[in-house]
Amino acid sequence: MSESVLNTTRLTKLYGSRVVVENINMTIKRGEIYGFIGKNGAGKTTLLRMVTSLVRPSGGAIELFGSSDAKDLQNARTRIGAMIETPAFFPKLTARDNLEYYRLQRGLPDAGEIDRILHSVNLTETGRKPYHHFSLGMKQRLGLALAIMGNPEFLVLDEPINGLDPTGMVEFRNIIHRLHRENNITLLISSHILSELAQVATKYGIIHNGRLLKEFTQTELEQQTRGYILVKVNNAPMAGCIIREQLDTNQFEVCSQEEIRLFTFFDDPSVVTSLLSANGLRVYSSNEVKVNLEDYFISVIEAA
């Protein structure tokens, strides 16, 4: 069983009497890329801030790399790299000077570290350009550069692709993939852009109104979002009986009097339509319906 990098138990945050994060139990194992999904104000950033010690929990416990007492947590947090919300740097300093400031602050002995991380995020050519003249994509990449300074084992990224253009998103995604592949970094990424998240995450958590509604793996997501063939017939319940008896499968769902969803026969749906017609049913249409992470997210939220 792989080592747990982050484990929260009944983690709670209240601002006054308002509950922002409520009893969250979350586990992230080494090597996972955890996609953290939630609407605006759902509590994502607050939870990430608690993990990175920017915000003090009102209740519950955080365990990082197996450490949960205050002193061990302090040391454990130095093994984390974080980018919370918009990257923040000194506006008049260059990328290199900004990173040098944090290298000195963290006491990293190797001055070559800055070249390495600038190269990792494709920011070697910024020269004397001050940070406030950077494009949003460059700022995001500099934020990531700081997050990976000192080879952290766990990266916490809050909305890292917010505001990026499509090229920037692809570039960012490639960097994440490379970091994960080459350094086996564990990642916790929150994002609104679920289509992008779906391309990098190996595990997901959905947060809504401060509560963690569901956690699922990429494999489970694939099962949930495998899509279906929507068949419209004149008598859906009878169609269900025919499919069960003659095709020997239960992978369907009768949705209404005229609609039936098939979760199999994607390769050749005509097998089903022909069978139903041969049994005297009138088949009006059959269409393959795709389900993506957005649809699944909305269905989970609506169910809650």
């Binding site: 801030r49 919370i84 740097f89 000194f90 506006p91 602050q105």
Partner: protein, 263 residues
Amino acid sequence: MTKLIKADLFRLTKGSAVRNILLAGIGIILFTGISMYNSGSGLFSVGVRSSVSMGSSVPTTGADFVRQMRDDGFFPFFILAFVIAILGADYSAGTIRNTLSYFTKRQSVYAAKCITGLLCCLAYSVTCIVVSMLLGVILFGFEGFSALYFVRLLGQIVLSLPLFLGMISIGYCLLVFTGKSSITIVAYIVGMLFVPSLTYNLYQIFPAAEWLQICDPLSAFSVVSRFWEFPPLMVGLMLLTWLAIDAAVISIGMHRYETVDVA
């Protein structure tokens, strides 16, 4: 903690804020010196002055000029400028998140920022002494410089440390509580104007506590610049008051820093 100080000093040397403050200090000395030399009055005579320094006259020697420049009513405002440049930048740029997400022992961060501020004040002090000494010698001659003079100058710098630290920690404390440089600046300046009347009223209530009259920042800096002219007990009690202020403000600031949620 030394790593944090080293990093902040690196940033300050790369940025323009501290350099501009130093240049402003030098500019005021040059302007005041030349005005004094030409007309017997200058910015110094119309600038911010405490009641303690009101009786100062136009300098006649280089040493006297340096002493008068040390009795600088603007100094508490320069300290505020240092506070805003050092910690305020962290809040206005949002970089405090980067620091506090890595250094979870926040008291070290707070202490390091205070020490960096103190170093900036010392750098300002030394720069101003060197510049005013050069200008004083050029304009008013070598007269007045002696071994005793330099010992007093050194004593003055040492005795100023509790005042530097107090003013810096008050500024940082305000920043930590408000999280905004603008509110800090206003609160600090209002405080500077309000404290002299507070200490005066306290003295009226407790006439035995004579030293209270010189505890407001402007008067305290003036007293320190001529500490040998005042009764040692009075100077000592004033410094003790400031040390108590230092301890209280640093303690409150650190506690707040340790527990505050960072937006």
